[in-house]
């Protein structure tokens, strides 16, 4: 029996075991929406296509499964670009389906036509324009295959209206075979053995774990590696949760707003074992002065990450989990008292930790943002799924929430997209209806996708939004304070709306805390409400994020509180 393109599309999603998609309809995808109307598949209607993509991204980051997004042509498609670029930078497996004008008028500047394949060429792992219904099923199979394998990433599939309307035979391929695409998973055995010897010889080793640890599901192997070798661990923003923040060997996040001890350890190490990290400039600071005494072992699934920013003295290409599970038994076999060998190094680290702990001044009558996060951490026992916006809120979260499990911090690291956190929280909540999901937000960022309150309310997704409301684009203001002589040019948000009333107007619950004593009770109150809740924390407006490494400086040159 012949099926329409729209039916084939939905059938393919079901074959991929997709149970939830995020989208927004329009003219050229009407046929698909007509099939979705009674398909055994949940469609969550966002209020802006950017919200739909971020939600698909949050769903994917929280669950490890691909996130799916469906939008119409033209403006629907262009509205997805920020979300796609966000997912691309952080290697998130999402598949974005865009409607397109009929094939015969493509290129004619037709109504709601945009060359979305051209536009997203540099921010997708791969993209497709399907011109023939005969290619539809295979293309969708390939799209999911590419998005979810190797170094994951977003794939876009552009679906012209006539292809969706045409009739064709349906046959879903069992496997995708793409001759130009063969990711390397197994690390080179000889190289792994060599790396083991290098690690055994090091006196001052440190592990730098990035998002790759979480993507490959290697947290357990990482913990074993650290414990066998008695090697301290720092995780990048993307790697937080990949190693328990409560572990004695944990140093905290490094980089521009990194923890003193983490930055010093990197600067003084004789061996840096980087796993699934691409050495972003926010991590390394001045490259010339980064890890100046260290040999570098670089384990990454993406060969282009190796040697791009930092010389990798001992590269190993492959999947972190696979490589670590081969390395650990070899390390165990080394006849060596690791603890004794690293005693001096660990003692030095302990000194840094003791002398320069992460602190803030919690005196006075104003709510400190760091205090709010500590309280959220305690109230949720470090086990909630936390999303962040971008700015000070993001850095304070990274510093003060004690992430203990992978896939519990969802944050736009590479692109730094304000407006990411709230829709991402909606996506995560859709994946895990029973978990606590909290967006730790800035007042500026929350307003970038505030319309998604309607989505959360409509689908009864009880996400919590904790706004650290400083009535500023706080991170930018901080730079202006420190480097532009306090000239607060266009960063003051004095005319913020009343977030409590906004929440109520959308049918969510709005709460406000203005004094430190109110913080914990309000958090408890919010967590007990089985509905979306927005909490407006009126915080000390000019609180800054410290430590801070000025742009272009070595990460050991930290401004401290």
């Amino acid at each position: 029996m012949k099926k329409s393109g729209a039916e084939i599309f939905v059938e393919c999603l079901l074959r991929e075991k997709i149970d939830t998609i995020f989208g927004f309809p329009g003219g050229v995808v009407l046929d698909v929406y007509n099939v979705l109307f009674d398909a055994p598949l949940r469609h969550i209607l966002s209020r802006h296509e950017q919200g739909a993509v971020h939600a698909a991204d949050g769903y994917a980051r929280a669950s490890g499964k691909p996130g799916v997004c469906l939008v119409t042509s033209g403006p629907g498609a262009t509205n997805t670009v920020t979300g796609i670029a966000t997912a691309y930078m952080d290697s998130v497996p999402i598949v974005v389906f865009t409607g397109q004008v009929p094939t015969r008028i493509i290129g004619n500047d037709a109504f709601q036509e945009a060359d979305i394949v051209g536009i997203t060429l540099p921010c997708t792992k791969h993209n497709y324009l399907v011109k023939d219904i005969a290619d539809l099923a295979r293309t969708i199979k390939e799209a999911f295959f590419i998005a979810t394998t190797g170094r994951p990433g977003p794939v876009l599939v552009d679906l012209p209206k006539d292809v969706l309307a045409a009739k064709g035979d349906f046959k879903y391929p069992e496997r995708a075979y793409i001759r130009g695409y063969n990711p390397t998973y197994e690390g080179h055995a000889g190289q792994i053995a060599k790396v083991v010897k290098i690690i055994a010889r090091a006196k001052r080793p440190v592990i730098l774990a990035g998002g790759g640890i979480i993507i490959s599901g290697a947290s357990e192997e990482l913990r074993q590696l650290a414990e066998i070798g008695q090697i301290p661990v720092t995780t990048t923003l993307m790697g937080l949760g990949g190693f328990p923040a409560t572990h004695a060997l944990f140093l905290g996040m490094p980089g521009m707003h990194g923890i003193y001890t983490a930055n010093m350890a990197l600067s003084e190490a004789d061996l840096l074992i980087a796993i699934g990290s691409r050495f972003d400039d926010r991590v390394t600071g001045n490259l010339e002065e980064f890890a100046p005494h260290a040999k570098i072992v670089h384990i990454d699934i993406d060969p282009t990450s190796i040697g791009k920013n930092v010389r990798g003295d001992y590269p190993v290409v492959g999947d972190a989990k696979k490589i670590l599970s081969k390395m650990n038994p070899l390390l165990k076999k080394e006849e060596k008292d690791w603890l004794k060998d690293h005693e001096e190094w660990l003692r030095e680290i302990e000194e840094w930790r003791k002398n320069h702990p992460l602190t803030y001044n919690n005196q006075g009558k104003k709510i400190k943002p760091q205090y709010v996060i500590e309280q959220i951490n305690e109230a949720t026992k470090g086990e909630a799924i936390i999303t962040t916006e971008v700015g000070q809120n993001q850095m304070w979260t990274a510093q003060f929430y004690k992430f203990t499990k992978p896939r519990t911090l969802l944050s736009s690291g590479g692109l730094g997209t304000m407006g990411y956190g709230f829709p991402a929280a909606i996506g995560a909540q859709a994946a895990f209806p029973d978990k606590i999901v909290i967006d730790i937000a800035g007042d500026g960022s929350f307003q970038m996708n505030i319309q998604e309150l309607a989505t959360a309310v409509q689908y009864r997704l009880p996400v919590k939004v904790a706004i650290l409301n400083n009535k500023y684009l706080g991170m930018v203001r901080q730079w202006q304070q420190l480097f532009y002589n306090r000239r607060y040019s266009y960063t003051c948000l004095n005319s913020n709306p009343d977030f409590v009333k906004i929440a109520e107007a959308y049918g969510a619950v709005g709460l406000r805390a203005s004094e430190p004593e109110e913080v914990r009770p309000i958090i408890e109150q919010a967590l007990a409400i089985p509905k979306p809740v927005v909490i407006d924390f009126e915080i000390d407006r000019e609180e800054n994020v410290y430590p801070m490494v000025p742009v272009g400086a070595s990460i050991r040159r930290m401004l401290l509180a």
Partner: protein, 173 residues
């Protein structure tokens, strides 16, 4: 001058690629070069014996360690099947040019003599012009162009380089 050409040639890399013969493949490759700030000196592309695969020859200049990144980034593209830097081995390269020169009565003999020396061909003649066809490596084309310049080159079209590894060095699936 000769020195300069030689120096340029040294920092240059000739990369051979097998790519899917599919719309968009060329755009992706060109986009990768522009997006990451790599240079393209020349790029040629045409189908191979297998019509589903095209062979591309890209000549690029290396500023530092970049060539390794270029090749890794190219390999990462889904439409790219195989990549090799021919400069790591021995290879032959050729380029063809069509050159239109002024043909005044007093220099006709000169043009014909030069074409003959370079084993070129006259492929079009008019009252005032000669169009000649020449094939060779970079140095040969450069030398010919230098000789013709004083006579008067009206226009020139070059194919860009194509190249193959010598002997058993074969780029295949």
């Amino acid at each position: 001058m000769a020195d300069k050409i030689f120096e340029n040639a040294k920092s240059r890399h000739t990369i051979s690629l097998l790519v899917e013969n599919r719309f968009g493949a060329l755009t992706r490759i060109a986009g990768l070069f522009s997006g990451r700030g790599f240079n393209i000196d020349s790029l040629t592309v045409a189908p191979t014996v297998d019509p589903s695969i095209s062979r591309m020859t890209i000549v690029t200049r290396d500023n530092g360690q970049i060539i390794e990144q270029v090749i890794k980034q190219l390999r990462k593209l889904i439409d790219v099947i195989k990549v090799v830097d021919l400069c790591e081995e021995d290879y032959v390269e050729r380029e063809m040019a069509l050159i239109k020169v002024e043909s005044e009565p007093e220099n006709r003999a000169e043009v014909l003599r030069i074409v003959d020396i370079f084993r070129g061909k006259i492929v079009d003649v008019s009252a005032t012009t000669y169009t000649l066809e020449i094939t060779g490596d970079e140095e040969k084309l450069g030398a010919l162009i230098n000789l013709l310049k004083p006579i008067g080159i009206i226009e020139i079209a070059r194919t860009g380089k194509v190249a193959l590894g010598r002997g058993n060095k074969v780029l295949k699936l």
